[in-house]
């Protein structure tokens, strides 16, 4: 029972785990290698065999409100400098990487790709 409660509480806290862009960067680097923000920028602006790049919706630099390429819905800035709420909720970050990597690359992103992109986004003024 105690174990079950422990697992349950882990799950609940895990869902809304507060984090920072820097912490996430470290986590992804630990799973891969040192991040390169220039590679991150390139990755962000390039198409990867499908119709869209990250920049199709978020634009470059992603430091202002942009519009979804299909629906026209306003998307808040992705760069933490312009939108401090970005990359502060781990579950949300996981969800959007999963969805958007699937849309742009047709697969999940690697930890290295995530590290590179976050490193670049942190540097965007």
């Amino acid at each position: 029972m105690k174990v079950l409660l422990f697992i349950l509480s882990l799950g609940i806290f895990g869902l809304a785990h507060a984090t920072t862009p820097q912490e996430l960067l470290k986590t992804y680097e630990a799973q891969s290698g040192k991040a390169s923000s220039s590679k991150g920028e390139q990755f962000f602006n390039t198409k990867h065999g499908k119709e869209w790049s990250c920049a199709s919706c978020h634009e470059n630099p992603p430091n202002h409100d942009t519009k979804h390429i299909v629906t026209g819905k306003v998307i808040k800035p992705l760069a933490p400098s312009a939108n401090p709420a970005r990359f502060t909720d781990e579950a949300k970050v996981d969800k959007w990487f999963k969805r958007n990597c699937n849309d742009v690359l047709g697969r999940e992103c690697t930890a290295q790709e995530k590290a590179d992109v976050i490193a670049w986004l942190i540097s965007v003024k």
Binding site: K67, H68, I69, V70, T71, G72, K73, I75, A91, K95, K98, R99, N100, N102, D103
Partner: protein, 152 residues
């Protein structure tokens, strides 16, 4: 003749007034806004039938060309709410082709005067972007008085 005309006019006015209002139910869960309305407007559940919503929510991994998958808990909450508030009106009850509101016969009929180039304008982008022309779409008002078609 005049009487008939007045009656016809009254019918038209009332029916379009009905169609013009599609308010969001007051019990909308936060997850609907967070999960669905981050990419497109929060469509009022009354625009689709129960079965159509079930179909939409059952295929989120392939959602009109994108991966819109969400966690199970949110999915159940949103699905139940959409189905509970799905249309009960005959007009909206058809099974939407491809699960698209914009492919239903009432939608096509209502927009039949809109030329193809208007849908493609930068300010419109897609028939799914209700708010581009229906300036009060976010409040569930689709009245003809509240329409402003972007010039480009």
């Amino acid at each position: 003749m005049k009487k008939q005309f007045t009656f016809l006019l009254a019918t038209l006015v009332t029916s379009s007034a009905f169609a013009a209002k599609m308010p969001m139910p007051s019990d909308m869960p936060k997850s609907y806004d967070a999960e669905c309305a981050s990419c497109h407007m929060a469509y009022p559940p009354g625009l689709l039938s129960e079965q159509s919503w079930q179909n939409v929510m059952g295929s989120l991994g392939k959602h009109f060309g994108t991966d819109a998958s969400i966690d199970e808990k949110d999915k159940i909450e949103i699905t139940n709410w959409l189905k509970k508030n799905a249309t009960t009106r005959q007009k909206y009850s058809e099974l939407a082709p491809g699960n698209r509101i914009t492919k239903t016969s009432w939608f096509i009929r209502k927009h039949d005067e809109i030329k193809p180039d208007i849908w493609k304008r930068q300010g419109v982008k897609s028939p799914a972007n209700c708010g581009a022309c229906h300036t009060s779409a976010a409040e569930g008002i689709f009245s003809e008085k509240n329409i402003l078609i972007p010039g480009k």
